[in-house]
Symmetry: C2
Subunit: 213 residues, 2 copies
Amino acid sequence: MTDTQTQAGTRDALLEAAQYLFGHKGYEGTSTRAIADRAGVNVASIAYHFGGKAGLRRACAEALAERLNAALQAEGPRPLPGTPQAAVAEMETAIRAITGIIVGSDGARDTVTFILRELGDPGEAAELIFARLFLPRHARFCQLWSIATGQPAEADEVKLTIFSLIGQIVYFRIAEPFVARRMGWSATGPDQAAQIADLIIGNLNAMIERARR
Amino acid sequence: MTDTQTQAGTRDALLEAAQYLFGHKGYEGTSTRAIADRAGVNVASIAYHFGGKAGLRRACAEALAERLNAALQAEGPRPLPGTPQAAVAEMETAIRAITGIIVGSDGARDTVTFILRELGDPGEAAELIFARLFLPRHARFCQLWSIATGQPAEADEVKLTIFSLIGQIVYFRIAEPFVARRMGWSATGPDQAAQIADLIIGNLNAMIERARR
DNA sequence: AAATGTTAATCAATCGTTTGATTAAGTGCA
DNA sequence: TGCACTTAATCAAACGATTGATTAACATTT
């Protein structure tokens, strides 16, 4: 009985270790040996399972997109809400969920760290994450906004507005250490995430009100 | 007559080359040789002028903070505006200026690329940039918001609101390739920056209106 | 000549990848 | 069932290339 991985365990262990290290030290800053060590696995396994370091990076993004899409599910063939009130309600719920995942320190923390690192390093992985994770939700938000305000869903101003809405959430995570210090937070947990979500929902309602005029 | 740098020229050439490469390929992804080549200078000059690669990184951050502070100047001992209208006007002007620098493709493009890369890689450089560049403006914005709305400048909600305001701008730059594609932009230049600034100023006014109620 | 810059050459360490060997689990046939 | 063979998976070891840093010689200026 050994403590090394066997069978499919190796693949998953590599994905988890790589996601953690790529996220915290960056792709270039992470050596294949460091990944293998953290996974408790031989270096050669990376080439065997993923073709190489770059393949492992791509596999991380794919696995993560699938996993997060499942967690946020919802992205199924849901019908659009019928009233402005219901549309606003769905946006508020979504903002709370997304803020909790991006800002709060739940289980997805390392995953979000990886995503943000890739966002700043345009490439295949960022492409994949945006196409599968961000854009579908952006389109949904545009439709909800359209129902809530009466503006056409594909109007330039609407699309930009939704970007500005999501940007607020993402920035709180990017600047987290500095936000925490400025706010006097010892940690950024679910309570802080809720406080941030409340604020952004307030902004959302202010923006909707203005758009209706 | 050679084409290599002499005297103080070497130092500046290294700073510029390093800022470009650190920003576009990341700190770990950039070799000292690549920096020296781009600067048209010998590798050993890095150790001579900056003590090493890490020192060059710090020097980049310091030089950039000084330069951007000068460009945005304003941060002198300006008096606070006396009326809510004047406070809103200053915020709008600042948003236009910051959006132009961060989003538009003016001369500061490589500098902003470096900053965003460092923001995602917490360390000495990010610390310096935030302390010297971001926080002073955050505090100023809080005061302006206070004058505009009557809320106390150091209230939690105000501080968070200002973060959410800045976050909108930063995100447009981070997600620039994806925003551009979604919007059908072939490039993100001054016109697009102005469009984004208009939108964010609209959001600002909506938020202020709501805060006054 | 002393101080300051710049250079080519070299260093040990580490990089991602490849190799050949080894193990264990299937597979086909008698 | 028993034997011969193939396949998938993992390993230690080694590969050539590149890394950041250092050295000592050379050039320029004061």
